[in-house]
Symmetry: C2
Subunit: 193 residues, 2 copies
DNA sequence: AATTTGACTTGATCCATGTTAAGTTTAAAG
DNA sequence: CTTTAAACTTAACATGGATCAAGTCAAATT
């Protein structure tokens, strides 16, 4: 069950009663997603935002040349969606895909609104995690502007030490904005020095 | 007075009564900032988030070499701060500076909390604008990863047509992640074609 | 065990953008 | 009005990282 993790994630940010947790939790729909399956498909409207109970998912963009760009990833206890699509009802730019067997709890925008009404502190929680997500994208933008590929890689490894195990080098390179070949060279250079 | 703009900005996202607007508005502190003055200084804690009533401000990072990187900018009706610092109470990474005479309304975190209590729909508004800010940083990350400098510049001009007048080329180049010289070259190339 | 497939490495070459530096235009300040 | 400084342009040269192409290695499939 993912409810403990869900509760813990909320209580890390706000005070909330067990009853409120129950009423919010009951609005989510459990879905088991096999490795390789899509959670959100680009071009369709993202009708759900997902709480990841276990597993790993990536959210990436594909350009006209078929090149893939990793925008976000998520593990146990993170939320994942295409937020622009979810909020505005526009077609998703991102594919969100499980890269291992993953258990998610899906919340529609109606479910989220209802949760906000039933448990106002859930809205405070939602604001807090959105602010965190905003801050981390801002930090990523800052890194992209001010750091070399090597510095970004070192920073990435420090920030997400567990990630190197779960994500392939292709995805990490894509997240950093470099080619897999460059990442490979860069790693061997770092090992030598 | 900036109250009309403030009201309009909120009502674009949520329903709110005049009384609620009044109670929120009264929590803000008016401050006139002259061109060149700082709104937030890097290294100090950002104690305020600011609603810009008129004028223009930039938020930028300075690296160890003294190089400046434009992270965000704001005009009439936008909010600006160093969000990470404001939320976590850590020293600000950004300088926020007026680049023309600017009128802002400052809200401390206590003021924001009080506003959320007095006017719950103000919290919904705050969530909505934070989600928008998140989405636009995500889009910027996507552009940085997938587009050439020239494509990013064209996209920037389309997205913020009024900006080229207000921001110097140095700031625009910095925002796009290229040198001012490259932007100059790129512009003359675009004019020819 | 043999084969296919995907992930990673390594080398050669190329190009977009950075860097340095000089010159020009514009705007601010005395 | 003059001076100074900042913003912008242009050119020559340097370089980080991309691209193209082979090759290695390990895991999955038959």
């Amino acid at each position: 069950m993912g409810k403990e993790l869900f509760t813990e994630s909320i209580r890390r940010h706000v005070g909330i009663t067990d009853e409120e947790i129950d009423s919010v939790w009951s609005l989510g729909i459990e879905r088991r997603v096999k490795k390789g399956q899509y959670i959100i498909h680009n071009g369709t409207v993202a009708k759900k935002t997902c709480f990841i109970s276990s597993g790993t998912a990536v959210g990436y963009f594909i350009d006209t040349k078929g090149e893939e760009y990793l925008i976000q990833f998520g593990f146990d206890g993170w939320w994942i969606s295409d937020i622009s699509s979810f909020l505005k009802g526009t077609p998703a730019l991102l594919n969100v895909q499980a890269i291992e067997d993953t258990l998610v709890y899906e919340f529609s925008s109606e479910a989220i609104s209802e949760a906000f009404e039933k448990a106002p502190s859930f809205q405070s929680y939602f604001l807090a995690i959105t602010q965190n997500a905003f801050a981390s994208f801002q930090a990523r933008t800052l890194n992209n502007l001010s750091m070399s590929a090597e510095e970004r890689y070192v920073d990435f490894c420090n920030k997400y030490p567990q990630v190197s195990q779960k994500l392939s080098q292709k995805w990490i390179a894509s997240y950093l904005g470099i080619s897999p070949e460059s990442l490979s060279r860069l790693k061997s250079k770092l090992l030598k020095s």
